[in-house]
């Protein structure tokens, strides 16, 4: 993926922040937007709270990178 990010003066390194922003933006789009087919013709994940799923994955990712950056583990 090729992402152009105008990121400055971040506490996080550019690569880490880019990874984070890219994942955040990707989840935001794929899990919450895109073409939806109305009705019962597709297998439905409609009753799964995809926003909750996205948030959990993001938090997991942030924690993983945090550890990679030398933060203390609980």
């Amino acid at each position: 993926m090729c992402r152009s990010l105008t990121v400055m003066n971040s506490r996080l390194s550019g690569a880490t922040l880019e990874h984070h922003v890219t994942l955040l933006e990707t989840l935001d789009r794929l899990l919450n937007k895109g073409v939806v087919v109305a009705g019962d013709v597709t297998l439905s994940v409609a009753d799964v709270d995809l926003i909750y799923v996205s948030l959990r994955l993001l938090i997991t990712s942030v924690e993983t990178w945090g550890r990679g950056m030398g933060e203390e583990r609980p």
Partner: protein
């Protein structure tokens, strides 16, 4: 197709070059399911993983989800490099290819109109972030009334000074909030000069990893020839407002997830 397989859809596109590569399961080849001048980019997936029950279970697994989301996105982006695409929402699975054809038939005009709108355009995300401490300091420095109040608080006796400091803090907060709104509106106006369409929506996470609140979150549909102009405008904006701690972060190009039509399914 056995009873244990379904069709995972990535995007709708004008029919053309047969896709190469494998699908989201890492094994099945990408295929086009075409009908009446519209094709669905798809691959077979095992229902043990992608059926209702399997998918629900797998969504609990962060590693699985991140890998599959990246597969889905990479496949759509490859398709987008060749022409207009209508990206599907993650996890759109049909049991029969014939049902895909039926959906395409029912929505052909809508899909073709979207191809026409989206040709030569990509989606860009822009977030506005504010470093609150920096903005507050800028407001205290530049607002004459606040600067006067600050000087007065410094000169007064302790009791009166405490009262003035509280008054100053409240006034600075109100002023900073108003300034955030004004800057966000300026940013919207600056962005709007370069885009075809804008969708504003609430951010998934209300703060950046550094803890700065997201005060503006938009998806923009941008014609290819205007992308440089948009990015230059954003850099200029950031240069102008750095001292106020207000910063725009752009990401893209994305497939146009925010600018696709919804489709009718059932009869």
């Amino acid at each position: 197709m056995t009873a244990e397989m379904g069709w995972y859809l990535y995007a709708l596109l004008p029919p053309g070059i047969a896709p190469s590569g494998t699908g989201i399961d890492g094994r099945s080849p990408l295929r086009l399911i075409a009908e009446g001048g519209v094709a669905a980019l798809a691959s077979a997936v095992p229902l043990a993983q992608f059926g209702e029950e399997g998918l629900r279970r797998n969504l609990e697994n962060a590693q699985w989800l991140e890998e599959k989301v990246r597969f889905h996105e990479a496949i759509v982006e490859t398709a987008q490099s060749r022409g207009p695409v209508l990206p599907m929402k993650f996890g759109t699975i049909f049991l029969e290819a014939d049902s895909v054809r039926t959906v395409i038939r029912k929505n052909t005009e809508r899909v073709r109109a979207a191809f026409a709108l989206l040709r030569g355009k990509t989606e860009w995300g822009v977030k506005g972030l504010v470093a609150q401490g920096t903005l507050r300091a800028a407001v205290l420095r530049t607002d004459p009334a606040l600067a006067a109040l600050s000087a007065e608080a410094g000169a007064e006796a302790p009791g009166r000074s405490y009262f003035l400091r509280r008054k100053l803090a409240e006034a600075a907060l109100a002023k900073a909030r108003a300034q955030v709104d004004a800057l966000a509106q300026q940013a919207r106006d600056a962005i709007n000069r370069h885009v075809v369409e804008v969708a504003e929506y609430s951010a998934l996470l209300p703060r950046s990893p550094e803890g700065n609140p997201v005060v503006l979150n938009v998806a923009c549909l941008v014609a290819q020839e205007y992308v440089d102009g948009l990015l230059t405008e954003i850099e200029r904006f950031n240069g102008t407002h750095a001292e106020e701690g207000f910063r725009l972060v752009a990401s893209g190009p994305w497939p146009p997830y925010h600018f696709v039509p919804q489709l009718d399914g059932d009869e």
